[in-house]
Amino acid sequence: MSEKSTWDFGTMLGMGSARDIFMHKIMEIAETNKNIMYITADGSPAGSMQDKFRKKFPDQFIEVGIAEANAIGIASGLALNGKRPYVNTFGPFLSLRATDQINLDLAYNEVPVCVIGTHGGVTSGGGPTHYTLSDFGIMRAIPSMTMIAPADANQCGKLIDATLTYNKPMFVRVARGEEPLVYENQDYEYVIGKAITAKEGDDATLIGAGIGVHNAMMAAKALQAEGINVRVIDMHTLKPIDAEAIVNAVKQTGIVITVEDHNIISGLGDAVAAVIAENGIGCKFKKLGLPDEFAALGTPEELYEYYGFDAAGIIKTLKGFM
């Protein structure tokens, strides 16, 4: 039996909230770079990091109210005039309600705006209106858009550093709040567009994005105890995707399973499958994630188990291939 995939894993490796970490980083860079701006849509409750930002840098902060489309449009106008906005609120409202503005005001106008959607996947626990299950697919389909899902909170901090020299529009998905840290050692290089091998192995490959990396790591660690060496690839950048890492995984391990807290249509799995097919190489392959339905209610852990992409579900699928 595998290690139980729960958020308690964090007590071993330390927990962190990506929301706090990216705000901390944005505050850090806002101190020296006065073009850095933080824009939110009803996302700055009293006492929050956002509220601290507002108090510390009132001229670099905008609260638009419950108006995500306007938040993106304002950010575009600011970026067209030399500012570097970070727009952040609930992922579903950014990725769906403001899709038109992300497509035209940001991507078509080619402005360096970083959109950060929190409550990624089912992590809000708020039901289908508050799940973010289409962002990977939507952003992948928008020309020139970059789509990123950091594996954990600390990686989110590394990403914010990387955005400073990445002059393109991008969408970043993070989870709701505290999530388990994937990397015990933070001393690794983070480059947008370059996958990270979170765990070496040649018997099979698990490719995850966002929380999918954590679930994959949990499965891989449990399998390691059984003598099965599974590679875990952290595909934090869904677009542009690191095709080389995928091709190597196929050739070297023969089994690829993708893990994502996203509709299995249009997400990480489809992106990986396209790379495999277009390279004319075959392998045993399975996409794990949310099926094409409005997902059930429950906590993230319950839902990952229910839909078969917690550690136990991943192990079951993998053993079926072996």
Partner: protein, 288 residues
């Protein structure tokens, strides 16, 4: 209110006629263009580019330039002609590069293709938010450039505008001027029959804007008076943002096009082109 310099009015009126004719020439050469709404906004747009805006075709990146955002991007064809007239490129470059694979001129303008456009536009309901963001940047940078945004009245049916209308009124930009081309005709029908937008003035006023109605937005005298009455742009001043409602005529100056929805977008054969130019010469004098 003091009347504007008659020489200025006469010069801009002539230029507006000239640009209207150039628009027709372009339409003849390229096959089809959004003529109707271009003619309704022709007078105030000419007044802006040829007199009231700090706009230098040879210094398009000047940080203190005034910014004009064309939310009704389908009328970019009017500005294509103004830019050519200002010597930014030749007519041949425009005619040969319209809707071509390697061309620069689409039905809707792209800022990356044609320097001078502040943003790429086309889908309605985007320009207000973007331009308000530009006004906010001006406030942050303590520069007093003015930000203009040209909107259509039909376009106001898009809900996104009202988010930006609320936002701008809340933040009270002293460097912002919204220009509404109220020609009362949208893509396929009369605006008031589709979704009635009246009372337009009351709507903007209720949202906290300083509304200035221009009774005949195609009368250059009234256009010039309206622009001259604007307070100086002051990015640090907090005041109700200004909304200039120009009551215009779609297809203005071409008698058979005026107020006729079918001329929203059209082509012109040689005979029709000549009729258009003759009509512009005879009728496009404003003060209807």
């Amino acid at each position: 209110m003091a009347k504007a310099d008659p020489d200025l009015v006469a010069r801009l009126k002539e230029k507006s006629k000239d640009i209207a004719k150039q628009l027709c020439d372009m339409t003849f050469h390229i096959g089809t263009a959004h003529v109707g709404g271009s003619l309704s906004m022709c007078d105030f747009t000419v007044a802006l580019y040829y007199h009231f805006m700090n706009f230098d075709p040879e210094d398009l990146k000047n940080p203190d330039r005034d910014r004009l955002y064309l939310s009704k991007g389908h009328n970019g064809c009017l500005i294509y002609n103004i830019f050519a007239d200002l010597g930014m490129y030749t007519k041949e470059f425009l005619y040969n590069g319209y809707n071509k694979i390697d061309g620069k001129f689409g039905q809707h303008p792209n800022r990356l293709y044609i320097p001078g456009f502040e943003a790429s536009m086309g889908s309605l309901g985007h320009g207000l938010s973007i331009s308000v963001g530009a006004a906010h940047a001006g406030r942050m940078d303590k520069r007093n450039y003015r930000v203009f945004c040209i909107l259509g009245d039909g376009e106001l049916q898009e809900g996104s505008n009202w988010e930006a209308i609320m936002f701008a009124a809340h933040h009270k930009y002293g460097n912002y001027v919204e220009i509404l081309d109220q020609n009362r005709v949208q893509g396929n029908a009369y605006t008031y029959k589709t979704i009635n937008m009246e009372p337009m003035v009351d709507r903007w006023t209720a949202f906290g804007w300083d509304v200035r109605e221009i009774e005949d937005g195609n009368d250059m005298q009234q256009v010039v008076d309206a622009f001259e009455s604007l307070p100086a742009s002051d990015s640090q001043e907090k005041r109700a943002p200004i909304c200039m409602i120009f009551k215009t005529l779609k297809g203005c100056g071409i008698d058979f096009m005026e107020n006729e929805p079918k001329w929203h977008a059209c082509g012109l054969d040689e005979d029709t082109l000549n009729e258009c130019k003759l009509s512009i010469e005879q009728n496009r004098s404003g003060g209807r």
